[in-house]
């Protein structure tokens, strides 16, 4: 179980949100919605521990993440606005490195299967990522989710610049993660096609 207690966050001079208390139970998804600049990204980065809150706390299984530190990092997979992939490596190499750094299985076949799952088959997966299109790069970043065995996923606008096919792959993957008892927090502008009882909304206002 994952929860925030009376969380407040600000950037520069602006208070973005205050007193946010939400609980994400296993098998549920929290969709963070709101206008541009309402603080979704900041909220997600705070949940990762990359940004420190003004006040309040974030609890993982009832313990403060500032005490858990690396133990907490081992529970989460974060995909941000930035893809976090190296332009000069191929998709296969990128995934291998990030999987091995995450401690997931990183053999060639597993990685290729993950890339095929996001529709990056044989001709493309051996090109340097630099020459791929915007949406293909995003797919490479998201392919990490097909390798991740961690319970908590934090995704920042995963659907941006994806086409319809990729959107449905990703939705299915989210579905299967939830049915395995995983937890997901997504910042998004789109509707997510998941059963309503597993989705919770948090609306941030400007």
């Amino acid at each position: 179980m994952f929860q925030t207690v009376a969380l407040s966050g600000s950037r520069g001079e602006r208070l973005l949100f205050s007193n946010v208390s939400v609980t994400v139970k296993p098998g549920t998804l929290l969709a963070v919605v709101g206008e541009n600049g309402s603080g979704k990204t900041s909220f997600l980065r705070m949940l990762c521990g990359l940004l420190s809150p003004d006040c309040g706390a974030i609890l993982w299984q009832g313990k403060d993440i500032r005490q858990l530190k690396e133990l907490y990092c081992a529970q989460l997979t974060y995909v941000g606005h930035l893809n976090g992939i190296k332009d000069d490596l191929t998709p296969v190499e990128n995934l291998k490195v990030s999987a091995s750094l995450a401690g997931d299985e990183s053999s060639g076949t597993v990685v290729q299967k993950a890339l095929e799952a996001v529709g990056l088959g044989p001709p493309v997966h051996r090109l340097p990522t630099r020459v791929l299109s915007q949406g293909q790069k995003r797919r490479v970043a998201l392919a990490r989710l097909w390798l991740s065995t961690r319970p908590l996923w934090l995704l920042d606008e995963p659907f941006a610049s994806l086409d319809a096919a990729a959107t449905s792959y990703l939705t299915q993957r989210l579905q299967s993660h939830l049915s395995n008892g995983g937890m997901v927090v997504v910042a998004t502008h789109q509707e997510i096609a998941l059963p309503a009882d597993s989705v919770q909304h948090l609306r941030l206002t400007r």
Binding site: L50, C73, G80, K86, D88, L101, G103
Partner: protein, 227 residues
């Protein structure tokens, strides 16, 4: 849940950076080439008297190595910062300081080690010989990793700031000076026939000191930059 061992994570970080360097092998050649050119410009500019050349040799070679390190500092974190790899690295469930040490090591292998290996040849150009060449190489071997570690702090502090190339120079060069003085001093004293042990052991002390503190300071600075 899944968690990489420390050595596994360290190896992963180093392997990725070396892989990227191998993708552009000419980048490695670049720092060698820089050193060769700058070191060769001096005999051109100063004139061919071998006595003068021998006298300025140690200083010029050390300054050159230092500048090569400085020039390549931009490569250390900037790319990772811009493409989001750095924030992913900060989320790896291992101490960031250790991972930083891995990155610095890879950086040194790419930009420092070639200079060390090349130094005997450059020393010959300046009329150094025999034992002095050995001292030169040894001093660089001890000194360049120290430079990389100190430089990493500056690179991390200025991450994402405009004009960071020069700011980093301003922050880091003062801290480089002791290393430069001990390094060039070791070679000069060997040239003069005085023993170079004192300077070399001071270099060693600098190395140990920065090994103890620099990765930690760099990690703190990186977390600040990522906020």
């Amino acid at each position: 849940m899944s968690q990489p061992s420390l050595s596994e994570a360290l190896r992963g970080v180093v392997r990725r950076d070396l892989l990227l360097a191998m993708r552009h092998r000419s980048d490695v050649a670049m720092s060698v080439f820089f050193v060769v050119i700058v070191a060769s410009l001096f005999p051109l500019g100063v004139g061919p008297e071998s006595a003068v050349l021998r006298m300025i040799g140690p200083g010029v070679l050390w300054v050159t190595a230092l500048l090569a390190c400085l020039l390549s500092l931009g490569r250390l974190f900037t790319a990772d910062y811009l493409d989001g790899v750095l924030e992913q690295t900060a989320l790896i469930p291992q101490p960031l300081a250790v991972l930083v040490l891995g990155k610095v090591f890879a950086h040194w292998v790419i930009s420092g080690l070639p200079v060390v290996l090349l130094s005997p040849l450059l020393g010959l150009q300046f009329g150094l010989s025999g034992e002095t060449l050995g001292v030169l190489t040894l001093s660089l071997l001890l000194g360049t990793p120290t430079l990389s570690m100190i430089g990493a702090i500056g690179a991390a502090l200025t991450l994402g700031l405009r004009g960071s190339g020069l700011l980093v120079a301003l922050l880091v060069l003062p801290l480089f000076v002791p290393v430069l003085i001990f390094g060039a001093g070791a070679v000069t004293s060997s040239l003069a026939g005085i023993g170079s042990e004192a300077n070399l052991s001071l270099l060693g002390a600098c190395f140990m000191l920065s090994l103890a503190f620099a990765p930690w300071a760099t990690a703190v600075a990186l977390r600040i930059a990522l906020e």
